[in-house]
Amino acid sequence: MSIILEARDIHFRYPREGREVIRGISFHIRKGEKIALVGPNGAGKSTLLQMFNGMIRPSTGTMLFDNKPIRYDSASLRDLRRRVGYVLQNADRQLIAPTVWQDVAFGPSNLGYDDEMVGKKVADALRHVGIEGFGRRPPHQLSGGEKKRVAIAGILAMDPDILIFDEPTSDLDPAGSEDIMELLEELNHEGRTVIISTHDVELAYPWADRAILLLNGEILREDRPEVAFGSPGLVRKAHLSVPALLDLSLELGRRGYSQPERKPRSVLDMVEIIENLLHGSRWNRVPGTITVCNVDEDRRSLASCVASREDLAIGTMGTRAKQRAQQEQLPVEFHYGVIDKCILRALRGKDSLILTTNSMAGRVTLRVEAYCRESGNTIAVIPLKPAEQEPPAATKGNAGEGEGGYEE
């Protein structure tokens, strides 16, 4: 993958302030990567992020975008800011217009699009983040999560290649945070590079492709999350904590239980490890199936398809899938980390259904296949069939009944 953003030995100090905030940072980010910039408060995360779209100019050193040094004349900056979208930490500070529609239209209007184009961009962006019909509302009437979505829509309306989020979940409740992380996942799957800053390691650990640990304006470590967060000394030095799953794996390792090369990134990985420790071999129960339905193509009534399957757990991936489930009043069990949770369920011999959007449809098969290859299990991924052709679920679905040791 080609490099889209690069920093070469950048330093920065605020004018009239003696201390250097950024002290010699070099790194690069590839197209389509998910990057988590992790560090304690005051480590320089926000300052660094603001350099990505030219809000702050490094005192020395070079920032490169698309392999060209960033130029700081106003025309180049406008182009840069169109392509590098920045979502501020405080949504209230980002929303500037009196209605949601006007706020989302702010970027496109300033890019000089005509009215029709602006209308289309706004409608698309609002649909994308799942807040259609909010256009007339003033921002102060919205909840925290809704405000965040409007802020994201305002950036998406400019159609950027890179999305930067400063502390995307800092003022959201846990369910709201998961929704936003799921949205980031979706945006990434459409080919956008996503960079977040956070001090929430539990959030960054399963999500990121790469983590950059920042302390006092310097990069402490830059690697895959399981490596970057894997050294307790380093993590403590950065005023962070080791993610619980990684901690558990390290502790098991210290007690002499053999640990695989690849550290666990999710509950699924951890379950696999524990299963192996307990049974010495893989799960010997008949696994359940995962049914996939692409809501963008499938216009049938899903409610009737799943009505006869009470044992079926439903998970949604993507904004439109969530909306569809809401429309049809389907009981959704999984909103975030859906594929892993469905695999876990299949391992217990139970079936699940994943509603997904076009952009995420292929991912289910890929992830399940990757898992099967690694673990040696076989889990079938099947497309949703009409109700009458549905195979009788009872024979397979009951295999795991009565165990009940693990509940989501």
Binding site: R81, N110, R136, P138, P139
Partner: protein
């Protein structure tokens, strides 16, 4: 949360989807007729009709509406009682003259004037409430843009509208924080707390201003502040009744004034 409340009612009003111009025509039209009518009958009638329109088809809660009316009512009643005894003319109806320096006289002229003022205030307040409770600020901005009000002015108003709520929330937080630490215990302490609240609010708004510029820059600000594209069409079934109503009100006013001209 009073100021949020008014705007919230307007946002959720059943008249939300009527063209704001139609609503403004009704509100401002009846306001002008109430003001120029020399007879108390017209503003009284207008006030009652518009109140009924607000409560029944527009579905404003009668309790909230009543509370809103109570504000101007208290003020008006006190003023009108004063007017009764200040103004004069015509036959004396009632007089209270207990001691030399107290002489309260109620005359026919002062009674008529007082009642006219009372009715006018009622009619005009209801007209204004009609606009406030059915037309959100955001629609008014839109209308202003169409009425060729200078864009710079509207942009500023929109930003102010957006930030009023943020600063109000912030002021409330500071006030609560001060109150929790007994900041308003004595008059002296209250004064000190209030001054620090104002100072804090000033600093906050200064910072918010800088953040605003940054947020606008992030989104390629180039002088354009979009206006809301979708506007409801002017519909005959809403504009015709309004015009008809205003005509009837005008005719009643004209007839009443003609009769009053004949009276003396």
């Amino acid at each position: 949360m009073f100021e949020t409340l008014l705007d919230d009612i307007a946002q959720e009003s059943a008249f939300r989807h009527i063209h704001p111009g139609t609503k403004l025509l009704l509100g401002l039209g009846s306001l002008v007729i109430c003001l120029v009518s020399p007879s108390p009958l017209v503003p009284l009638l207008s006030g009652i009709v518009l109140s009924c329109v607000l409560v029944i088809p527009a579905r404003v809660s009668p309790v909230i509406y009543g509370e809103l009316l109570l504000g101007p009512a208290v003020f008006t009643v006190i003023s009108v009682v004063l007017l009764f005894f200040l103004l004069g003319g015509g036959a004396v109806i009632w007089r209270y003259h207990p001691v030399l320096w107290i002489d309260l006289t109620l005359t026919e002229g002062s009674l008529r004037e007082g009642i006219l003022v009372l009715c006018r205030v009622f009619g005009c307040s209801v007209s204004l409430f009609f606009i406030t409770l059915t037309t959100p600020m955001t629609d008014l901005f839109n209308l202003m843009k169409r009425a060729r009000v200078p864009v710079e002015l509207i942009d500023l108003m929109m930003i102010m509208y957006r930030y009023v709520f943020i600063f109000y929330e912030h002021a409330k937080e500071i006030y609560l924080a001060q109150k929790m630490r007994l900041g308003y215990g004595s008059p002296k302490e209250s004064l000190r707390s209030l001054s620090s609240l104002c100072g804090m609010l000033f600093i906050t708004s200064w910072n918010a201003g800088e953040d605003l510029i940054r947020a606008m820059d992030c989104r390629c600000y180039d002088g354009a502040f979009p206006s809301f594209g979708q506007v409801e069409p002017v519909r005959a079934r809403s504009i015709l009744p309004v015009v008809l109503y205003l005509l009837i009100l005008g005719v009643i006013g004209f007839m009443a004034s003609a009769r009053i001209v004949k009276l003396p």
